[in-house]
Symmetry: D2
Subunit: 372 residues, 4 copies
């Protein structure tokens, strides 16, 4: 049994100046320093002790971004929105500045494969340099950038998310796709990976609920007739997903969990509305019409009001810690036991949260034993 590592571990964030990334960096420092309890972090609960995960204090942050607003400034904006408490903001300035110093320019992509290769190469060099400069034992690349439009049929080049994913592979870093963007799902990136990878699209609200409610209806043999949902999002994600092409991938994930857990696809649509005034907050309403015994018509409605960054950030830290340890013990390729975290998990993952949680506990055992 390998002793728990405390080797310095890098987390390289694609979209490193966004709300999620900022909350990851600030929150990691706040919890590591004991300013706040580790609420929302699954890997700091008892089943994950002694699994060799890198401690929060050993995590080092950097990343790519195409926007220039520096991380400490972004953190101030999040504090004004009620996402970061003001005392936390004041206490983590140093950590924000350190991460800011490690951010390198990302790059928009013209769609041309030759340019793509050059970009991948530059991105990979940035990641390698980050590891060398900080004497890191290893690095996990996590995509937390805004959702990109779904690729169109005539797209011949790789989308940006796939270029970053390719760079992670080239740099020998583990890779997590926390968004519905293409990432490793591009045909040119299929094959046997030498690092552990996980994705895609973090499950933080409506789909999380669906992954427990769907099984409930199925286990009780209740017939779900329709499942309709509306999401109201502000922030950058609302704007990105107001584009129907961008929303398509996300909605596919939301509906897949229903088909997988119910055994049949109910009627109903999912809407994602951009409501800028909601800022970092989101609301998801679900209306589920179901039939019971003798056709009695019943309804369940749910309203989930959450802060996207606060829901996503601890899961990003969880995933990075789990994948770092997986990397350390030699696990490679997709890790379906991480389906617990995703809307659209890797093949082989369960669809119900309860089964996903059991699988995750199983992974914890493997990580503890060092059993790749």
């Amino acid at each position: 049994m390998t002793p728990p590592t405390s080797a310095r571990t890098g987390i390289w964030l694609i979209g490193a100046r966004g709300s999620v990334a900022t909350t990851v960096v600030a929150g990691c420092a706040a919890v590591a320093n004991g300013l706040r309890p580790p609420v929302g972090m699954v890997t700091l609960t008892p089943p994950f002790q002694d699994c060799g995960l890198p401690p929060l204090g050993a995590l080092v942050f950097g990343g790519h971004d195409v926007v220039s607003c520096p991380l400490p400034k972004r953190a101030e904006q999040l504090a004004a929105q009620g996402v970061l408490p003001y005392d936390v903001l004041a206490a983590v300035q140093e950590e924000l500045a350190a991460a800011e110093a490690a951010i390198r320019p990302g790059g928009a992509v013209a769609g041309d494969l030759r340019d793509g290769h050059e970009l991948v190469s530059r991105f990979a060099e940035d990641i390698v340099a980050f590891q060398t400069d900080n004497r890191l034992a290893r690095c996990v690349v996590v995509n937390v950038a805004s959702t990109e439009p779904a690729p169109r049929a005539d797209d011949t080049g790789m989308p940006a998310s796939s270029l970053y994913a390719a760079a992670a592979l080239w740099a020998g870093a583990a890779y997590v796709n926390f968004t519905p963007s293409t990432g490793l799902h591009h045909p040119a990136l299929s094959g046997a990976y030498k690092v552990p990878v996980a994705g895609r699209d973090g499950k933080t609200g409506q789909t999380l609920l669906r992954s427990v409610l769907g099984p409930m209806f199925a286990q009780r043999a209740l017939a779900v007739r329709s499942w309709s949902g509306t999401n109201l999002l502000g922030g950058g994600d609302g704007a990105a997903l107001a584009d129907p092409a961008a929303a398509a991938a996300k909605n596919a994930g939301k509906e897949r969990v229903l088909a997988d857990t119910l055994g049949t696809a109910p009627e109903g649509q999912v809407h994602i509305d951009d409501v800028p005034s909601m800022g970092e907050w989101k609301t998801a309403w679900d209306h589920i019409a179901f039939e019971g015994f003798l056709g009695a018509r019943m309804v369940l409605q749910t309203t989930w009001q959450g802060c996207d960054s606060a829901l996503a950030a601890p899961l990003v830290l969880d995933l990075a810690r789990l994948l770092a340890r997986a990397h350390e013990i030699g696990i490679t390729g997709p890790v379906p036991e991480l389906g617990f975290f995703f809307k659209d998990p890797d093949p082989g993952a369960y669809a119900s949260l309860a089964e996903q949680h059991l699988a995750l506990l199983g992974l914890a055992g493997r990580l503890r034993e060092g059993d790749a």
Copy 2:
């Protein structure tokens, strides 16, 4: 391995002229005759095939009640309320009349132990006669009567629900307490039972939801601060539960599932309001305030609108079938694997629905193998 039985099996309903009982009798006939699909019946899903459960067509109904409105009349009222479809009502008149003919007078209880013994004796004789007259292989007694007030400290006699439970034991019948009433939970009825028993308080709405939502919050390490609920009920149950003493047992079950799944008891109360105009329908609103990463305050609200009888009746049939088979293969005493069906399950049961479902599947295996 014992071949599936098709022996005639009795279901003796305490509260045999109530809404749930009426829906049980009418619905059993409707599904057995192919008028309606078996929506809501868990034991007619694939995992329970070949488990030796008595087929619906082999079930024979009778019971005790203190009210005199005959079953066919009660069924008409349920049709007017939209619980029983009119075509079903018309098609099951014969089965309703047969069950009505097998109903014997129940009896209010003065609280005196001597009278109690006499009542138990009369009730047991009724059950035995029902078995004999109908040449039944065995019988399951199910309490679906209105909830009785919680016993007070100075109550020396047994409550009615316990007298009926005692009668079931004396008659050698399996026993299910589908209500929060005392039933077998009376000290005078403790001990080693020679029949399988199960209870208590069928889980048909708000608590069902809580048993999947509580684990979700716990598995995601989210800190639930408060969980508040309001139930609006019409029908007899609304009136019974408007009595705080009667509601106490029910609410205890609702709150226990939270403490058991969350690991801590959140703030918040549960109200049960009698709203007569809602008739057979009930609405449950839950408001769950939780904290995420860095203390972000979020809220989930659920509204469940259901028909109590339509939710309860298929579970009553499920429980009766499962307990009949358990009885056949020699299982005795509480069956915690049936916690899936109850708000306040027997000791040893899991609290989360997912684990309860796994346990139930395990029981299905034992029943299939005839492994007591």
Copy 3:
């Protein structure tokens, strides 16, 4: 002061075999015969007594439709859906048959003006014949057909709803457009009408709510930031409005009431989803994010679960009665005092329900006095 009329009055329904029309015919008979109280009928409340409105017993029904399912059959379907009570269905067979006998074939429209003229002529002849055959004092044509697509820029012909409206004018009948379809809003139909007309798009749910909630926010000087809505509809209307072009007119009305009552157009969209399994029932969810003092962010959510036909039918009877009396005393042209009933009322109407109600009471006074 003119004494109340009891002259026989015709109601000619465009879409005469639809859910709303069927409920109008059956419900009028049920209330007229004392089978049910006049719940939902505004003109049977005290302020409208002695206004000379034709009594329900004096109303005679006919209409156009392009579907062939006869009215009594359609009524059976509505009973199975819980819209018409079975005892009402049984009691109004004669009235349904009478109305069915008076239905004439409607006609789809090829878009060619010449054909249009011929259709209008045939439709008008049907209406005139209905009046003559039944010795009616007057007739009110009410469009309760499914919403038609909004006309496209290159449409040169009249939409069907306008042809029917033109037919009403030619036949000298008053006209009500209870749908968002074009009707009299076609440029070729502008001008001075010789009959009273009213429209458009009956206000039966979400917009009704908005017309009282919008003024509340405005009167309290609360700043509404976003107002988002989702409608789930089954039945024919759900399918018709799932077409974005058809939904456009309806949504315009829903959003206009906000701009008019709030004085500013908030962020937010309105969705109309076709959910066939909901049948005659509809659910509307509204999410209103508003700011209070010092920018405090607050939220109101509403969920309206209604039966479209049951909400619309009594208003159709109200409008027909009011317009019949208006016709009798010589009122011509749009009647903005009827804005109370519509999403998209005629110019000059108020936007808030309270002001619309005051205007309606004013109209009641004019009708009572016979003051055109």
Copy 4:
């Protein structure tokens, strides 16, 4: 016509160190200094211009309280809860300190009338001294203290709220009771007042909604069968109202608005739950079951999530400004035109918000004209 006054006007707050009072003082400064727009203040909308109301900059604050936490400290706590923005907090320190300096000790009351007289005398002297020291033209006393228990039958003394109200009368100050406490509703305080008075119980959420929804159902002749509500409150008010005796007065107001606007009292209860973790925020759920045409059963549900202090504070400023002007022009006794602001308005007030708003606009006209 009297020219608008800019005479210095006192606002003497009973409960001067509570959340509402703190938000009043801080918010008045923030709006007066242009830091925030006057959202939520009705008297800063156009209809109230030129009515001679004292400008915000002319308001001077003081008051009584029995707690000792100073106002600037309380303001910090409100900022941490998200009620006061941090930039506002920083900018209004001077005004908070000034108000803090003018707060005098309140006093619990033993229930003995002799002590009561002494307390009233001391309270009145404090108010007079406040006016003299600050050279105020006049003063309005506003009760914003925690709700006190409803008086019991055997209470012979005056409750604290009545002692403060008596002190206001003795000091010649106008008086507003923004709480459901007794205040002037004590028999010993009846009679002809020499000052204008207004009450009681500010309408900030659930009852505000009810005052527009009740009239909507009545105007549409829809039959409300039940109206059930649950309020979740943190803060001091949640704890105070968890006492059924304290909640009784509040609930009476909530139910009265239904009876008054619907013309009949529907089934259903109102719960007020103390949920300390909700802090300054409150949630109110209402479930309204109503019948439409032919008995169709429909439901409206509303969920109101607000910040109590942010809802109440601007109304307190509105009332104080209106009453100061009313005082100036010689209006005395209850002012039912202020029913717009209250759950339990003075006799003669309308019950529907729309009519209350019209009455308020009428009062604005009287104040403009100086017509007592």
